[in-house]
């Protein structure tokens, strides 16, 4: 009898996931009436309802969900999981809001899009919940399958197909590397459970080269998904070719999920950091430098945001390195908390800023041709002042200018790096931020001071995307001034 009750409690823990899956199944079952509906947006509304239900389940779990270990230890809840899942669900809602007008204008506002979005998101949430490398892998695949297909969703667009295929081939390669890594880890330690690996590492029973090699391959697989240099080559092409709402979704969700696992590994496999840390440091430096320097040369905003994503992944790697470093040096617990909450705060900041920037592009695109080059933004301050001001706030935030959330996030990571004695990384972070300011400010200047002959636009702006712009731009400023508002979400990370 007790066994049955346990199983029910375990299933209750994954209600947020089940809500997404039920939503996906409903969308499939109702696909026909939804397609025939005269007004677009029915599928998006249903997907939004599933996301809301999922969030409601997550909130209702509250503190009970923070120390559940379910399904033989393959998934579990803790504050990191809860905050990452909340961020992911918010991103999902914004991504759903961006899609209908854009897709309907191209004749692709199909229920299947939202099915893929919901399942993809459930994969990302699984990665945050996972305590077993097998579940991490399944989560990555669930996340990626949806993204591969969504990238090629508008099939008339040849570049979308190219993006989809490139992302699929490179992604499959990275998945294979990661799977090989998991096999090596299992072969040398006899377990794929992160907790079991942790105790094995602490007992120093698996300090073999095979184990380290396996972990290195896992790191490479995650770095690929998070678009960390030098494993970022897919991202500019995939971002550029994919439809704008998909780019928004993929840039944010894949990165958050991959970093959720990276943070967990850095936190759990702490004693191994003697071999792990140099690699993480190298990835951090490379990402920050490559991302920021190459972004300067981009004329296409999607590519620019892709490289900016690489750079932001680099900042996040600094936080991961700081977390690992504070473990390795046996620093006080609050140093580790600082690194961990800094990373989660930055993930949220990145999600809002990037989602918002893509929302502006989607908003300006409306039902017309995609707005994606710097030239398309010329004179935006005159054509669509509200969107331009929103974009300006988001760009300043991405560049880390106070008083925005991007600045607060960078500051937290900087502090964490200093506290974790990662001085080199802290200095590098500060230096590359100067380069970063240049290309973000260039966008603002183009919008405000360069004119085109284009007339002020009047119609065709999607209202939902406008709301996403408004909310994200407001959040960027408000949370930049009062980051304390987030401490309910972030402060409990440990």
């Amino acid at each position: 009898m007790r066994r049955d009750i346990d199983v029910m409690a375990e299933i209750a823990f994954i209600y947020p996931l089940i809500a997404l899956w039920v939503g996906a199944c409903l969308l499939l079952l109702l696909a026909r009436p939804l397609r025939r509906a005269t007004r677009p947006g029915g599928s998006a509304a249903l997907a939004g309802a599933a996301l809301l239900a999922s969030l409601a389940f997550l909130v209702r779990q509250g503190n009970e969900g923070l120390n559940v270990i379910a399904f033989g230890g393959s998934i579990a809840g803790d504050p990191l999981t809860a905050s990452i899942c909340t961020i992911l669900l918010l991103c999902g809602m914004m991504a759903v809001a961006l899609a209908p007008t854009y897709l309907a204008a191209r004749g692709y506002d199909n229920p299947e899009y939202y099915v893929l979005l919901l399942t993809s998101l459930s994969g990302a949430m699984l990665m945050a919940m996972a305590r077993d490398l097998v579940v991490v892998f399944l989560g990555i695949e669930l996340l990626s399958f949806g993204l591969y297909i969504m990238a090629g969703f508008v099939r008339e667009d040849a570049r979308g197909g190219e993006a989809s295929l490139k992302y699929f081939l490179l992604g499959a390669f990275a998945s294979a590397l990661m799977l090989y890594g998991i096999v090596l880890v299992y072969g040398s330690s006899g377990s794929t459970n992160i907790e079991a690996l942790r105790s094995a590492v602490i007992k120093e029973s698996v300090q073999s080269a095979m184990f380290a090699g396996g972990l290195a391959l896992v790191l490479i697989g995650l770095a690929f998904k998070a678009a960390v240099a030098p494993f970022h080559q897919w991202s500019p092409d995939a971002y550029e070719g994919a439809p704008l709402p998909v780019t928004a979704f993929m840039s944010v969700v894949a990165k958050i999920a991959a970093f959720a696992v990276l943070i967990r590994l850095a936190d759990s496999l702490a004693p191994l950091h003697a071999t792990w840390l140099p690699a993480v440091r190298l990835l951090a430096i490379l990402s920050m430098v490559v991302g920021n320097v190459v972004a300067v040369a981009q004329q296409n905003l999607k590519r620019m945001l892709a490289y900016s994503g690489v750079a932001h992944a680099g900042y996040l790697m600094v936080a991961v390195a700081a977390l690992g470093s504070s473990h390795a040096k046996g620093a006080a617990l609050d140093t580790q908390t600082l690194a961990m909450s800094g990373a989660v705060f930055y993930l949220l900041a990145y999600a809002i800023m990037t989602m918002g920037a893509f929302a502006v592009l989607t908003y300006v695109t409306g039902t017309g041709a995609e707005c994606q080059t710097l030239a398309d933004l010329k004179g935006l301050a005159r054509r669509r002042p509200a969107a331009a001001y929103g974009m300006a706030a988001l760009m300043l935030s991405l560049g880390g200018v106070p008083p925005t959330i991007g600045f607060m996030g960078k500051l937290q990571i900087f502090w964490a790096a200093v506290a974790g004695r990662e001085m080199g990384l802290a200095v590098a972070l500060a230096l590359v931020s100067v380069v970063a300011a240049y290309y973000y400010l260039r966008v603002v200047l183009t919008m405000c001071f360069e004119e085109t002959g284009a007339e002020p636009a009047t119609a065709g702006a999607p209202r939902a995307a406008g709301w996403v712009v408004a909310i994200s731009a407001t959040a960027v400023l408000v949370l930049g001034v009062m980051p304390g508002l987030l401490m309910g979400l972030i402060g409990m990370v440990r």
């Binding site: 499939l28 893929l116 297909i149 040398s188």
Partner: protein, 170 residues
């Protein structure tokens, strides 16, 4: 040297030779057939480890169903004749060679130092269907959840295939 260890080395050499053929052969059909060889060798390894079920599945599913599908696709796309897919050499070939040499070298190094295989995984007594069933479907063990997850993954795969293949909606 024991008998089954000699068998292992012969099979391992065969398996690697077939795997090299998969990559090196210019004819896609031959590559696919070489992959069948790799699968069969793997399945013998599974049998030798006492995992009969996995070995049989390896032959039935991979060497049988999936490879036939591969061959269908190759023939459907008319890729049977040697094609110029390996003509773009440039810098990538030396880099790839270097990378594989490094990987091979480090694996050999690990082998020479007796680092690999490290902590040997306790091999199952025998890989019967019953044991695999217990392992997969016991709610107290971690594999039930992973197993159920793959069903969602398969659903997404089906939806994705339909999405990419269907005609544009009106």
């Amino acid at each position: 040297m024991q008998g089954n260890s000699i068998g292992f080395w012969i099979l391992a050499a065969l398996c690697i030779a077939a795997a090299v053929q998969v990559v090196a052969n210019r004819n896609p059909v031959r590559s696919a057939l070489a992959l069948v060889g790799v699968m069969c060798c793997l399945s013998v390894f599974y049998f030798a480890q006492g995992a009969e079920f996995v070995g049989a599945v390896q032959v039935i599913v991979y060497a049988g169903a999936i490879m036939v599908l591969f061959l269908f696709v190759i023939m459907l796309l008319n890729l049977g004749a040697p094609n110029p897919m390996m003509d773009r050499v440039g810098l990538s070939k030396p880099v790839a060679l270097l990378a594989s040499a490094v990987l091979l070298g480090s694996l050999a190094f690990a082998g020479a130092l007796k680092i690999a295989p490290g902590r040997a995984v306790k091999s199952p007594v025998s890989g019967t269907v019953q044991q695999i069933g217990y392992a997969l479907f016991d709610p107290g063990r971690p594999w039930l959840f992973a197993f159920e997850l793959t069903s969602v993954l398969l659903l997404v795969g089906v939806v994705g295939a339909v999405v990419l293949a269907q005609r544009r909606s009106d």
